[in-house]
């Protein structure tokens, strides 16, 4: 029997390491220390309900476990074989306890390829990876296939880059392989900067060896002997596990000289980022790896021709790499049977925001937004109404109710005015103001623009100022035209992907929620009730019972009224903080 405790960042932050310790102690006390193993794994994907503990082989899933629950799990489940009811996942639609992950809505419809080992193996033990077909693919490559064979398999599988733009991976490898050089590099882009996306981190934390193996396969295919992983310094746990994995792989002869007795040699080093979103752009990333400011340069030359140190380099993202060993093991036919015509395989999405099951999911391409949000994600928090979902982070756009039944793949998302991006999906409900959301993303872009080219450096700042103007109620209809015009100019004239996509959140919210923009400029009203400067709080006479909750909660004493009598808000004193609205149990505070 195994007790798997989630050791992902989210669960660790809720003391999952303590839970593992308590479980071990309980087992020792009961004399079961040798029979039952406690394993810290990577992310299970159900971060909302963390910390998560899974009992194998029964496949029982315990959620929101606390260290003091360890005694019950050992006494009831391990010894008596009865699941601890109160710790089971509760199905939000019918309130029933669900024991196995197979019966949970959030796991049905998922196909795990990149995340195949996350939550199943101890990421700090190479043997567990090997036991699940680990390093079989590199073995197959160096003994059975030529470099051209490997590229052929990846091309035929239809794998496209998971980092955002969806460039065909096999084609990228082929270009790098054709450029002759005595030294080439395989680069793994683990600079996951998109706020709200954390799939790369989960793969690195939960299954680091799959990335190392895939990089070696890529090295074999393109003729490179050196791999570099560019990782954010903000991910200390992923860095630690990668270091352990690299050391173990070297000890086993799976990295280093003459891998598995062949004449292929390959080794991997880590490079650290230092907090710059633009470094996710491949030319900027390469400059950063060279110890310089991470400013992008024009393409061509592409990294495949002249990359790190001026040598041909192949840059792929973590999730792309994680899919590679499976494709080699199971064959391109299998991989390309999943997904849509032009987007094969699966995609990992990080579901976050106003949704019941925040977490990581891996679904086949072509699934609809409705299935993701309402079946896997368990619907909107607090029974609110779905409004939009932002995909592609600061470079993407929003999808609305109209897009709920559109099959999700690279091309459909672009057609809908958004993009796949790295796979962040931020769900928004009726309380979110779309103008503010656009402003939020622009604030991000302004902060992260490297400043090299004028359209991005100056233009985005101007857009941000215009949006601030509008959310304060000072905008005009002419401002909206100016806004759209400026967005198009920035898109057309910026140097790199960051600037070329930065206006997307504005354009897409304007396309889908023009009525909200108009309400802000003509009626000076925020329909979602979120723009503070446009709000006016009043108390509804019929609903107020005089409980004084609002008056007591008001930080500026703007609310007057005797107990059991109607209360009144002094508009001159009101700072529009919303405390009264949140405190009123009788819905007597009206925002308009």
């Amino acid at each position: 029997m195994h007790l798997l405790v989630c050791g992902g960042t989210s669960c660790r932050a809720s003391e999952s390491a303590l839970i593992a310790e308590s479980l071990k102690r309980e087992l020792e006390e009961k004399g079961l220390g040798n029979e039952v193993q406690v394993v810290m794994t990577g992310c299970f994907g159900l971060c909302e309900k963390g910390p998560v503990v899974k009992v194998m082989p029964d496949n029982t899933f315990y959620v929101q476990v606390r260290p003091e629950d360890a005694a019950a799990i050992v006494a009831e489940h391990v010894i008596k074989g009865k699941p601890v009811q109160r710790l089971l996942y509760v199905n939000p639609s019918n309130g029933e306890h669900v024991s196995g992950s197979g019966q949970m809505g959030s796991f049905r419809k998922q196909i795990r390829i990149a995340l195949r080992n996350c939550g199943f193996i101890n990421p700090e033990n190479i043997d567990e990876y090997i036991a699940r077909e680990g390093y079989a693919a590199i073995g197959k490559c160096v003994t059975e296939y030529t470099a051209a064979d490997v590229i052929g398999i990846i091309k035929k599988s239809g794998l496209r880059g998971r980092g955002g733009a969806g460039f065909p991976t096999g084609l990228k490898w082929e270009i790098a392989s054709k450029n002759q050089s005595y030294q080439k590099y395989v680069v793994c882009n683990a600079d996951e900067g998109d706020p709200g996306a954390f799939m790369d981190r989960s793969v690195l934390e939960g299954d680091p060896h799959s990335v190392l193996e895939a990089m070696a396969i890529c090295g074999y295919a393109i003729g490179a002997s050196k791999g570099l992983i560019y990782i954010r310094a903000e991910y200390p746990l992923a860095i630690k596990r990668l270091k352990i994995a690299i050391t173990q792989a070297r000890e086993y002869g799976l990295l280093g000289n003459n891998i598995l007795g062949s004449d292929f040699s390959f080794d991997i080093d880590l490079r650290y980022g230092a907090g710059a979103f633009v470094c996710g752009e491949e030319t900027a990333l390469i400059h950063s790896m060279e110890g310089m400011r991470g400013e992008p340069t024009n393409k061509p030359p592409f990294p495949a021709e002249s990359g790190f140190m001026g040598k041909p380099s192949n840059v792929n993202n973590v999730e792309t790499f994680a899919s590679v060993p499976v494709i080699i093991n199971k064959g391109w036919e299998w991989f390309s049977s999943i997904g849509t015509e032009k987007s094969k395989g699966t995609k990992v999405f990080a579901l976050a925001g106003k949704i019941n099951n925040v977490g990581l999911i891996e679904v086949p391409m072509g699934i609809t937004l409705r299935e993701i949000i309402f079946e896997i994600g368990g619907g909107i928090k607090n029974g609110k109404r779905f409004k939009a979902v932002q995909t592609g982070g600061p470079s993407g756009g929003c999808l609305t109710e109209h897009h709920l039944d559109t099959p999700i793949d690279f091309d459909n998302l672009v057609a809908a005015g958004s993009m796949m991006g790295s796979g962040g999906m931020i769900v928004m409900d009726e309380d979110d103001c779309m103008v503010s959301i656009a402003k939020f993303f622009l604030e991000f872009t302004v902060e992260e623009s490297c400043g090299k080219c004028a359209p991005c450096r100056i233009g985005n700042k101007r857009i941000y100022e215009l949006l601030t103007h509008i959310t304060k109620g000072n905008g005009t209809l002419a401002d909206l035209d100016r806004l759209r015009n400026m967005c198009n100019v920035i898109k057309d004239t910026s140097l790199c992907g960051l600037g070329q996509t930065s206006p997307n959140p504005v354009l897409s919210t304007m396309d889908n929620f023009m009525d909200e923009y108009i309400a802000h400029v003509t009626d000076k009203r925020c329909p979602a009730g979120s723009c503070r400067d446009l709000m006016k709080y009043t108390i509804i006479e019929e609903k107020c019972v005089g409980c004084t909750a609002c008056a007591r909660g008001c930080p500026v004493n703007a609310i007057s009224g005797e107990r059991k009598e109607l209360h009144f808000i002094d508009q001159k004193k009101c700072i529009k903080c919303g405390a009264c609205f949140e405190r009123c149990k009788f819905s007597a505070v009206l925002i308009n």
């Binding site: 960042t9 989210s10 932050a13 809720s14 159900l46 971060c47 909302e48 309900k49 963390g50 996951e192 900067g193 998109d194 706020p195 709200g196 996306a197 954390f198 981190r201 989960s202 310094a233 903000e234 991910y235 490079r271 650290y272 980022g273 230092a274 907090g275 710059a276 979103f277 950063s288 060279e290 110890g291 310089m292 400011r293 991470g294 990080a350 976050a352 925001g353 106003k354 925040v358 977490g359 932002q390 982070g393 962040g424 931020i426 928004m428 979110d432 959301i437 939020f440 993303f441 991000f444 490297c450």
Partner: protein, 160 residues
Amino acid sequence: MSSIKIELRKEDVDKINEICDSFDNEPLELINILHKTQEHFGYLPAEIQEATASKLNIPVAQVYGVVTFYSFFTMTPRGRHPISICMGTACYVRGAEKVLDEFKKELAIQVGQTTADGKFSLSSLRCVGACGLAPVVLIGEKTYGRVAPDDVQDILKEYQ
């Protein structure tokens, strides 16, 4: 460069040289060198940048350019308990801005500043990847999840 003037002691310079040596004084490793240096000194004031540049035999401007480009590097000392508020999208839609405002109010400092007693410093960062716990606040190594503005006073009390 920065208004704070410090005098580097001999052992400080030795430490910088030691870090540079451990990377073979290779300018390509500048970011890794600065990571190590900041880990040791807590921040990267002008004097440290100058010492690093002279050891690596590169212009100070190049070091300064890198330090100011990346948000991870800081030229002012952080507080003993650095507070970082996640302003990633997931935290933002779950109210991180209000939490940040509360910290600003309670500590009477702005983002990027340190309290006069050197105890707390305030910064915002983009996504720690614990979106299930949004909004998230980090104080030193400790993570606080699902923080509401009302919790801020109690959290700060833990460090009194």
